[in-house]
């Protein structure tokens, strides 16, 4: 724990915050986007907003894997789980994500679907080995960090000749999402000065994955860890880049991230997965070459092919503003459903489900600030 505590030290944080306040030019407004839900969560949980000067503000980005999964894919997973021969293995975060018509995996499970919550891909493999008469499907989601474990499970399944195991692949890629944000006229309109770049994802991809984006769009990107002090330091580094007129990819998280990333993991992933021509993201829409699918050589382990899964486009709840929240265009509290119809107990949108979702983080940790802005109530300091 000692090594973790170092990155949560309140005195260091206050000193660093004072430096930010000192170096931020008083007549300038700074607005940065934290790309990852992990950063959103850390900022909310530790109250980092309270440490920043009023002219340095953060907006939330799309880096929450549960949040960006479109409804059509959840619908498909439910349909799959409803098949009598199928056991769907999923991370628990997905259980309560709203699907079409008020459905979700939790309700499907209650209605008799065999859905099991697992903690890793290897749990799913173990179930496949223990229950050879069941078709075990692993509901794979996540950015580059969670792809290598899925690849590993596929390799093992092939080696062990597990014919009852397959993967419903929903792995997505970070750089195309970042690009989508940067080219979006809406996001340009709110003027984002720079990015706190992905943390765990970058351990796999390396910082070089963002180089061309920083150059092309002239935005500083600072890759940062998920500890609160990491985030504060990254914000300081961004303020400095802006002040100096630089647009570089910098690495605050050098204790784990290199320029090239984890080449072994990259190779293992490339061996099994290839780019999908296109994938629909919640909030960001259809993005070309933004997600992965299994290569033909692994078609037999691909649940989409084994069960001929069709993903039909499905509309989000029209009142839910997750799409805009995911692009930093609106803050959770601005959604009319926030805290009225939508809360973590009764989520209307995916951003209220995962602890990394911006709406869930604001509800669980930050909503007391809303009334402080409205001028009522006592706020802790």
């Amino acid at each position: 724990m000692k090594h973790i505590d170092e990155y949560r030290d309140g005195n260091l944080a206050r000193a660093m915050a004072a430096t930010i306040a000192h170096e931020a030019m008083p007549d300038r407004h700074y607005q940065f986007m934290e790309f990852c839900g992990g950063h959103t969560h850390a900022m909310s949980r530790y109250g980092i907003e309270d440490l920043l000067p009023s002219n340095v503000q953060m907006v939330h980005g799309p880096g929450c894997p549960v949040c960006v999964l479109p409804i059509g894919r959840i619908d498909a997973a439910i349909a799959l789980a409803m098949r009598p021969e199928v056991t769907l293995c999923t991370y628990a975060d997905l259980m309560r994500v709203p699907a079409s018509g008020g459905a979700n995996l939790l309700k499907a499970k209650a209605a008799g679907a065999d859905i099991r919550m697992v903690y890793s891909t290897l749990d799913a493999l173990r179930i496949a080995e223990a229950e050879p008469d069941r078709q075990i499907v692993f509901f794979a989601i996540g950015f580059e960090t969670t792809t290598p474990p899925t690849a590993h499970a596929i390799t093992l399944a092939r080696k062990r000749q597990l014919s009852n195991f397959s993967v419903f692949c929903n792995h997505v890629l970070t750089p195309p999402a970042m690009r989508a944000i940067l080219v979006s006229p809406d996001t340009r309109a709110i003027r984002v000065d720079g990015f706190v770049g992905p943390s765990h994802v970058s351990t796999i991809t390396g910082t070089s994955a963002y180089q061309s984006l920083a150059v092309e769009f002239a935005k500083p990107i600072v890759v940062a860890g998920f500890e609160p002090l990491d985030v504060v330091q990254a914000i300081l580094m961004l303020v400095r880049q802006v002040n100096q007129g630089r647009c570089a990819v910098e690495n605050q998280y050098s204790r784990l991230v290199t320029a090239q990333g984890n080449l072994i993991a990259q190779r293992a992933t490339a061996e099994i997965f290839e780019l999908r021509p296109s994938f629909a993201w919640r909030g960001l829409g259809e993005l070309p070459h933004s997600a992965l699918q299994l290569r033909d050589a692994y078609a037999d382990l691909d649940a989409e092919r084994r069960f001929a899964i069709d993903t039909l486009p499905a509309a989000d709840n029209p009142a839910c503003e997750c799409g805009d929240v995911l692009r930093g265009l609106t803050k959770p509290a601005a959604c009319a459903l926030f805290g009225t119809l939508c809360s973590p107990d009764t989520p209307m949108g995916s951003c209220m489900v995962s602890p990394e979702g911006a709406c869930a983080a604001h509800w669980s940790y930050g909503r007391f600030r809303d009334r402080a802005r409205a001028g009522a109530g006592q706020v802790v300091r």
Binding site: Y46, L51, G142, P355, E356, V379
Partner: protein, 349 residues
């Protein structure tokens, strides 16, 4: 239970399994109750062998509480479902400031469950009750078919007497009152979860499962008129208990992260599992809301008791129409401390 002594073979506790006849109300049921439960609980009220327990009670207000226990695994570091079922209900009684007197215990056992485990659980309950000065005076046993239960479920019901002059209730917290926590949080939940997930990390974390009535008696002795609320932060953790108190008292609460004791092992395990210790269950801790003038004496009395050695003031009650529980983080910011939504689960990326 007739006086007629039948020559039945003793239960083979070492190798035997529960079968449906043990719940059918016939001789096998009687034998199970006699040889395992009555032997373990051993008290004159139970020995009367009636379908109910009759006992005299001292004057005062009586409190009653019941709770079902369905924990998995049944045996965990620091306790088992039996000790938990005794401690849990004693603590529910004690949180009213009451002195617990007697417990009733009801079992739903799955066919095929080892008799040796039934005995182990009964003996553990007996010890827990004895240590707390409480007797188990009546009970019931049912057997369900294999696959229709998870080993054993236990429901315990308790009664106790509140000393005169004491009125504890979750709606009595007032702005200015102090919030006292009796010790480090998260031990029970992490001990159980690490077993359940078979995490295999090397830890010595054991459940804090304990009967709090002794500690409560000391607290009541020094601070009768000033104690407002007591709660044991079990399922849902400290966060849930504080939110309940805030809601029911229509007040806000502010706590300070750096004053909340969490053992380093527990903190590390929570980190690994993506849990917030504030949401993790405890089974031997209490929160007391007390008028500030009495806090010093109360803390001193708690420190003198083994279960309150690390008692400390963690925050205060404030006026707040929205009844928020807020926390100043050790990092220097502020946040809400909310109820957990759904089950607490490890994070995924």
């Amino acid at each position: 239970m007739t006086g007629l002594k039948l020559r039945t073979r003793k239960l083979d506790i070492r190798h035997g399994l529960i079968d449906l006849s043990h719940g059918a109300g016939g001789r096998a049921s009687v034998q199970l109750i006699d040889e395992i439960f009555r032997t373990a609980f051993d008290n004159p009220i139970l020995d009367q062998g009636n379908d109910q327990a009759a006992f005299d009670v001292p004057g005062g207000r009586m409190v009653m509480s019941t709770d079902g226990y369905v924990i998995s695994p049944l045996f965990f570091p620091g306790g088992d479902i039996g000790s938990l079922a005794v401690h849990g209900t004693i603590n529910d009684i004690a949180m009213a400031g009451a002195r617990p007197l007697h417990l009733a215990a009801s079992y739903i056992i799955e066919e095929g469950f080892p008799l040796s485990d039934v005995q182990r659980i009964a003996q553990s309950m007996a010890k827990a009750a004895r240590d707390a000065g409480v007797t188990i005076v009546t009970g019931d046993t049912k057997v369900v078919e294999r696959g229709k239960g998870d080993g054993v479920f236990i429901t315990t019901t308790g009664v106790g007497i509140v000393p005169p002059g004491l009125d504890l209730s979750a709606d009595r917290a007032r702005p200015g009152d102090l919030v006292i926590l009796s010790g480090a949080i998260g031990d029970h939940g992490v001990a159980v979860m690490s077993q359940r997930l078979n995490l295999g990390f090397e830890t010595d974390i054991v459940s804090d499962s304990a009967a709090l009535n002794g500690l409560v008696a000391e607290m009541v002795r020094v601070a009768t008129g000033s104690l407002r609320v007591m709660r044991d932060p079990t399922r849902g953790g400290l966060a849930a208990s504080l939110n309940e108190i805030a809601q029911q008292s229509k007040a806000g609460v502010i706590i300070h992260e750096n004053r909340i004791p969490v053992k380093p092992d527990v903190a590390a395990a929570c980190e690994l599992l993506g849990l917030d210790p504030l949401h993790v269950a405890n089974e031997g801790k209490l929160i007391a809301i007390v008028a500030p003038a009495a806090a010093g004496d109360l803390i001193a009395a708690m420190h003198a008791h083994p279960l309150g050695r690390h008692a400390t003031v963690i925050g205060e009650v404030i006026a707040d129409a929205q009844c928020f529980v807020q926390m100043t983080t050790s990092f220097g910011g502020g946040r809400i401390v909310d109820w957990i939504a759904g089950e607490q689960l490890p994070r995924i990326c």
